[in-house]
């Protein structure tokens, strides 16, 4: 008899194996189109996993996560833009084509942004927290909408920045797919280590009962801020990959409805499971891609489905595989 824990482990392994084989199968089948499609999905999965760290494990309902995604994407876009124009950002920061510099820079900027937004937002909780994260994200969104130097509302198109470490050609669909896949595996591995560490336990404790954690002597605010900043950095990395993939970036990537999409991915797959958001991203983005083929108005079906999921199946796809958590698996 297979226990439910094994069942979920087998499911994850099968999923990862399928994703690993996808470019090969797609190339043989002559459907290279799917490679780019799934690369996009993996990138959003990374963003969704980073949201799961604070939403699923930390119980922080952030409705502004897309801001970090967008900030990371813009860092890459701006650096490459300046490199090809041979100008400097703000007059002194030179651009670069090298992803090994641009991607970490994107993580750094997103982390800094998350730190400052978290600094204010995490003083509040409940509804206030939801709305403040939303409002801050909207603020970042408008900064880029009105920043004419980088295309403003129309977005910024750029060329280059797709040679990693001087020899890995990200312009090659398959190569870039495996780079993204490797990043995803890295994020999953480190995420797994993180949530099982003492730090992860404290974050989960804050979700279950923050007052008790404080009474136990944990500086919960600092723990939550650290988690929030980390999640921002990983979302920034996803944004950087996204910018490199698209060679184009516009503020629409950080519209607040995008943050809503990310939450949907996390819930759809199963919150607080790390692998769940990956499943959720695959399911959500495949629906977004292929349902319009059947009906142009797929959202009129998807909206009510979302309501039904919330009402009746809130543990998500992954929730069916995992055993019920002690205490009902609820979140705060």
């Amino acid at each position: 008899m297979i226990s439910s824990l094994d069942r979920s482990r087998i499911f994850v392994l099968l999923l990862l194996a399928a994703l690993a084989l996808l470019p090969i199968v797609a190339t043989i089948g002559g459907e290279e189109f799917y490679i780019g499609q799934f690369r996009r999905i993996l990138i959003f999965a990374i963003a969704a996993i980073s949201l799961d760290l604070i939403l699923g494990y930390g119980g922080m309902v952030s409705l502004g996560h897309a801001a970090f995604l967008g900030a990371g994407a813009y860092v890459v876009a701006i650096l490459v833009h300046h490199a090809s124009e041979e100008t400097r950002f703000l007059g002194f920061i030179p651009g670069t084509f090298e992803p090994l510099i641009a991607w970490p820079a994107a993580m750094l900027v997103s982390a800094a942004l998350a730190f400052f937004i978290g600094l204010v937002s995490l003083r509040t909780s409940g509804v206030y927290f939801i709305m403040i994260t939303l409002a801050f994200a909207q603020m970042v969104y408008y900064v880029f909408v009105s920043w004419r130097a980088y295309g403003g509302d129309d977005g910024l198109r750029f060329r280059g920045g797709d040679t990693l470490a001087g020899f890995i050609d990200l312009g090659n669909d398959v190569v870039f797919y495996y780079v993204v896949f490797a990043v995803l595996l890295g994020v999953l591995y480190l995420g797994q280590r993180l949530v099982k560490s003492r730090f992860g336990r404290v974050i989960e404790g804050c979700r279950e009962n923050e007052r008790r954690m404080r009474a136990l002597g944990f500086p919960t605010y600092r723990y939550k801020l650290t988690a929030f900043t980390l999640a921002g950095a990983v979302a920034g990395l996803a944004g950087a990959l996204f910018a490199t993939q698209e060679s184009y970036i516009s503020p629409s990537i950080m519209h607040w409805t995008r943050s809503g999409d990310l939450i949907i991915m996390v819930i759809l797959g199963g919150m607080g499971t790390l692998y769940g958001p990956l499943v959720g991203a695959v399911v959500f983005m495949l629906m977004e891609k292929f349902l319009p083929d059947y009906t142009q108005h797929w959202q009129i079906v998807f909206g009510p489905i979302l309501v039904l999921i919330v009402l009746f199946a809130r543990r998500g796809v992954f929730g069916w595989l995992l055993p019920a958590r002690p205490g009902g698996g609820g979140h705060g």
């Binding site: 309902v61 206030y128 939303l134 409002a135 009105s146 409805t257 809503g260 939450i263 979302l306 979140h331």
Partner: protein
């Protein structure tokens, strides 16, 4: 800044402020009393505008259209509450965010099917289409003044409703202690449904009055929703009075945020973010808003 421009912008700010207030009043009640985050509130703003824009050519009367559109939007609100939202009151905020996000998708697509994706333009009703010189030399659109008057009127009505009527008393009691109100034999479910429908009606009113000033399109509810949240957070969740004060402040800051930078030769880059900076500042000073509701 020239005095006349200043006066004109002040009126614009007030007019935008009362529009925000109409949105915020319903939302803050729903949030304060039922502890319910409703992202779909902007959908009713949009529906109100679409209903009115459709009815005006049919009925030929702006007033009749407004009454019908109000009733229609409130009815849709009522239906939504009974079918989908009622069971969410006891859930946590994340569930509410998700489910009402689903409702947004539904309503947006519904509008797209019924009215098409192209924006509709609504004419200012002929009766209010002129301009009036409040101060000599500064003609101001009558319609905007009407919007301002309606907003202030609704504000007065809400104050009366909440402070002076039995229904208002129950609403306030429900906000403080809903179990107690239920235990005293009040049908709290019905009360919630009524409050929700009232909120939807107010949002629809805001939408249909904004219709002729801006443009009626599918995204119209999204942006104002966020500004409404800012208003509610600044005002203090659950406080209608707070919503009014905050709405006027936000309306002013937003309007002058657009005008002032260009007056001083700065780019308007920071205009859109002024209200968010304001919100962050208020929250650092008073984490529960300017007028924290009791309970």
């Amino acid at each position: 800044m020239p005095l006349l421009l200043f006066l004109e912008q002040t009126l614009n700010g007030l007019q935008f402020g009362v529009t925000l207030f109409l949105m915020a009043a319903g939302l803050t009640l729903v949030l304060g009393i039922m502890n319910m985050v409703n992202l779909a509130h902007g959908a009713f703003y949009m529906l109100g505008a679409y209903f009115a824009a459709t009815l005006v050519p049919i009925t030929g009367s702006f007033l009749v259209s407004i009454v019908l559109a109000l009733a229609g939007a409130a009815a849709v609100g009522l239906l939504t509450e009974v079918v989908a939202l009622r069971t969410l009151y006891s859930r946590d905020h994340l569930d509410q965010v998700l489910a009402t996000f689903g409702l947004i998708l539904f309503f947006r697509e519904l509008v797209k099917i019924l009215w098409g994706p192209i924006a509709i333009f609504m004419d200012v009703p002929a009766l209010f289409s002129g301009r009036v010189e409040i101060v000599p030399g500064a003609p101001y659109p009558v319609y905007r003044l009407v919007v301002l008057a309606v907003g202030v009127g609704v504000g007065g009505f809400l104050w009366w409703l909440i402070a002076r009527t039995r229904l208002g008393m129950l609403i306030r009691a429900g906000a403080s202690n809903r179990e107690m109100v239920g235990a005293l034999g009040i049908d709290i479910k019905l009360l919630y449904t009524l409050v929700f429908a009232l909120g939807c009606g107010l949002a629809a009113l805001a939408g249909m009055m904004a219709g002729p000033l801006y443009v009626v399109d599918i995204g119209m509810g999204d942006d104002i929703l966020i500004k409404t949240f800012v208003v509610i957070v600044i005002g203090g969740i659950g406080s209608v009075r707070g919503a009014f004060v905050a709405a006027i402040i936000v309306g002013m800051v937003d309007t002058f945020g657009r005008i002032l930078p260009s007056q001083f030769g700065l780019s308007a880059t920071l205009a859109e973010i002024s209200i968010y900076v304001l919100m962050a500042a208020v929250l650092l000073w008073k984490p529960r808003g300017l007028f924290p509701a009791a309970g």
